[in-house]
């Protein structure tokens, strides 16, 4: 059965004054999918969500629901529920009244609305707080009420604007899995906007990366992570090391990229020709730190500048001299076995297997600007 596109954006643009917030975006979201729109602040994600919700109209292009054009239809008739970042719970109504608002507004009787509300509240495990006012609840609870309110009217489409953004880091991690479970249980199509790539990676069926109003890449999270289309994507989704260089050799399986005087990195082969200016990139968790040079390819000496504990990994910053500073994420146990924290200031070797190195065309702008380094 071909999945039905629940939402389609057909070449949609939206400008405010002279600023183009959304620039020719085309997107197709299937029924029941959980899609994340990922991008930095100011990339146009909220505008995109509001366009789908009908809270603002596109300057160009059309929004379609189930193959029907809804561009001219007002928000209250689209049946696409919007949950803003600060939840916007109605402060003067109890939790129950908040959740019953949707059904009531759509014409359900008072009894039916309250029943739907109670049902949803038990689903999010907040039935015991039905009579409380929003300001009496903790952040995590408010978030669940906002969700319940959105889902009570049985709308098929849920639009979430940074739903976990206002929560503590650990809570965010815990609640993201609950959020996905709830959405899947109720078979709702979800469009979830966020700037947190870890969140998007862990929760979405597909991710659309947005930058300056344009879609950079749209695909399954594993696709975007293992095969990003540009250095920006490689850096924004997951973080990576970048070394600028030139292609010096090209073979059927491997390429050689010269990144410094007399030193080349072996990489996966790609379409670039010898002599082209490129950027070699490898993931931080595929970068290992060795205490002695063995004869493997892609081993570079450097000085261990610092180590930081990330939890699962130990983040090591190694200065390679003229190429650059490189970051390696070493699993904590291995790092401790190697005694890396004691080796600060010492000579170490950095290694990234050729299969882990991929090559991009050198961007027109300076690399730092392209990566939006702070």
């Amino acid at each position: 059965m071909t999945p039905m596109p629940a939402v389609r954006l057909a070449d949609v643009s939206k400008s405010f004054a002279r600023v183009k917030a959304v620039d020719h975006v085309s997107l197709q979201i299937n029924n029941g999918e959980y899609v994340c729109i990922l991008g930095p602040t100011g990339s146009g994600k909220t505008t995109l969500l509001r366009l789908i919700a009908g809270l603002t109209s596109p300057t160009d292009g059309n929004v379609e629901f189930d193959n029907r054009v809804v561009t001219g239809i007002r928000a209250e008739d689209r049946n696409a529920v919007y949950v803003p970042q600060q939840y916007a719970l109605f402060p003067h109504m109890t939790v129950r009244e908040n959740v019953a608002f949707g059904p009531l507004a759509r014409g359900f009787s008072r009894e039916e609305s309250l029943r739907l509300a109670d049902e949803m509240l038990s689903l999010v495990r907040l039935a015991h707080r039905a009579g409380s006012l929003p300001h009496e609840l903790s952040g995590g609870m408010q978030q669940r009420v906002a969700l319940a309110r959105g889902l009570a009217g049985r709308s098929p489409l849920l639009l979430l604007d940074e739903p976990l953004g206002a929560l503590d880091a650990r809570l965010r991690v815990m609640l993201r899995y609950e959020l996905r479970k709830l959405a899947k249980e109720l078979a709702v199509t979800v469009v979830h906007v966020t700037h947190d790539q870890q969140e998007a990676m862990s929760i979405a069926d597909r991710i659309a990366v947005l930058r300056d109003g344009r879609i950079e890449q749209f695909g399954r999270s594993s696709e975007i992570y293992t095969a990003p289309d540009s250095p920006f994507l490689a850096n924004f989704v997951g973080g990576a090391n970048f070394l600028e260089g030139t292609v010096v050799q090209k073979g059927p399986e491997r390429m050689l990229v010269e990144v410094a005087e007399g030193f080349s990195l072996a990489a996966r082969t790609s379409d670039y020709q010898v002599g082209e200016a490129v950027v070699a990139s490898f993931r931080q968790e595929r970068t290992s730190v060795l205490t002695s040079a063995n004869l493997e390819e892609n081993v570079v000496p450097g000085r261990l500048v610092s180590t930081s504990l990330l939890g699962v990994f130990l983040r090591c910053s190694i200065d390679l001299g003229r190429p650059a500073t490189v970051v390696a994420k070493v699993p904590l146990r291995e790092a401790l076995d190697q005694r890396l924290p004691d080796l600060i200031g010492e000579l170490v070797y950095v290694h990234a297997g050729p299969d882990s190195v991929c090559v991009f065309k050198r961007p027109r702008r300076a690399l730092a600007v392209e990566l939006e380094a702070i």
Partner: protein, 364 residues
């Protein structure tokens, strides 16, 4: 910096209860905990922005307990950034020297130096609303540093920023503080942020200090269950001790046996075991092996640098396992039956918490 017996109540809530803390010169200390644990209140009392109900505060050798903030010689970074909107960025950064009557020429030079160190380049007519999130954070930091403080207080300094900017800027924070040889107290709810840049961590909950230690100590060998849960994901198992020797404990977890390093428990005692997801080792189930610790992979998810797996055990437990992303080749797949082992020394054990397990683990 020293704080002794600090307490502060707001109407019916005890924000701080008898908090004492010592800090050494040049240390970078983070105070972390869930929202409402009192960490911001503690910082504000140290700054003099809030007046404590009781207790003493020392900065250096001076007692500052009753001094107003302007006399405590500190730098404060606010969560809201709070750059003065009616002054240019340079005027903002130069505010500290100016209000202390420093002469204009030398303070202008000084401001220039600090801006360079912070890698912030702005024109003389640039105003705060024109800066990006990361740049305004740097400007706020530069402004605090320009006031030549003895102590830097950072109140969720990266809270208003995007995740990736936050992750990059935190190392800049530490670099600047260390380069200038300042002492810093950094308050945050983000445990990864705190662990990655601090010399020491202070964990707070409900107005009290729960535990203090280096990031590595607290992550690998937390003394409290709350710390274990707060600093990162962990699998928690309720178990009953079957046997205990001087160095090894045998316990029963939902009917299955588990051996781990530990001592001091009585037979039949109820304990809580914790194991981090990265310490879970998965092997495809072998038919001749024992039937214990066998389960089915319910879900496998690529998180990016890690692969996260949810395994439904045959004894009704759920175990989360996480391995570094070295490619999905050779990884167990969804639906596969696997055997679970825990890497050596990775299982932590705790006596049953007095207030109950849920209350101890609660993150808000």
């Amino acid at each position: 910096m020293r704080v002794i017996g600090l307490s502060k109540g707001f109407r019916d809530v005890l924000a701080l209860q008898d908090v004492s803390l010592d800090m050494n010169d040049g240390e970078y200390v983070s105070i972390i905990g869930p929202s409402g644990c009192g960490k911001s209140t503690l910082l504000k009392c140290i700054a003099g922005i809030i007046k404590q109900d009781s207790g003493e505060i020392f900065i250096g050798d001076r007692e500052v307990t009753s001094l107003p903030p302007e006399d405590r010689q500190l730098g404060y970074m606010f969560q809201e950034i709070a750059l003065f909107p009616h002054m240019s960025v340079l005027q903002n950064v130069g505010y500290g020297p100016r209000v202390r009557g420093k002469d204009r020429r030398s303070s202008r030079e000084f401001v220039g130096q600090i801006m360079e160190m912070a890698r912030l380049a702005v024109g003389s007519e640039t105003y705060p609303d024109e800066l990006s999130g990361g740049a305004s954070q740097k400007a706020a930091l530069a402004r605090a540093i320009a006031a030549e403080p003895e102590l830097m207080l950072l109140d969720e300094p990266l809270g208003a920023l995007d995740a990736h900017v936050r992750a990059a800027l935190r190392y800049e924070l530490r670099r600047l503080v260390k380069e200038l040889q300042l002492t810093a107290i950094h308050v945050t709810h983000d445990q990864e942020e705190a662990m990655s840049i601090s010399d020491r961590l202070v964990i707070m909950k409900a107005g009290r200090i729960v535990e203090v230690g280096t990031p590595l100590e607290l992550y690998l060998t937390p003394k409290r269950l709350f710390t274990a849960n707060f600093l990162g994901e962990a699998n928690f198992f309720q178990a009953t001790v079957k046997d205990c020797t001087a160095y090894q404990v045998t316990a029963s977890v939902n009917g299955w046996t588990l051996n781990f390093a530990g001592s001091g428990y009585a037979s039949g005692e109820r304990v809580v075991l914790a194991a981090r997801p990265e310490s879970v080792i998965l092997t495809p189930a072998d038919r001749q092996a024992s039937q214990e610790w066998i389960g089915t992979v319910r879900d496998r998810m690529l998180l990016g640098d890690c692969i996260r797996m949810e395994i439904g055990m045959n004894n009704n437990l759920t175990v989360i396992a996480q391995t570094p992303n070295r490619g999905l080749l050779g990884m167990v797949d969804r639906g596969e039956t696997v055997r679970i082992d825990f890497s050596v020394g990775s299982i932590l054990s705790y006596r049953w918490p007095a207030e109950g397990l849920d209350a101890e683990l609660a993150l808000e």
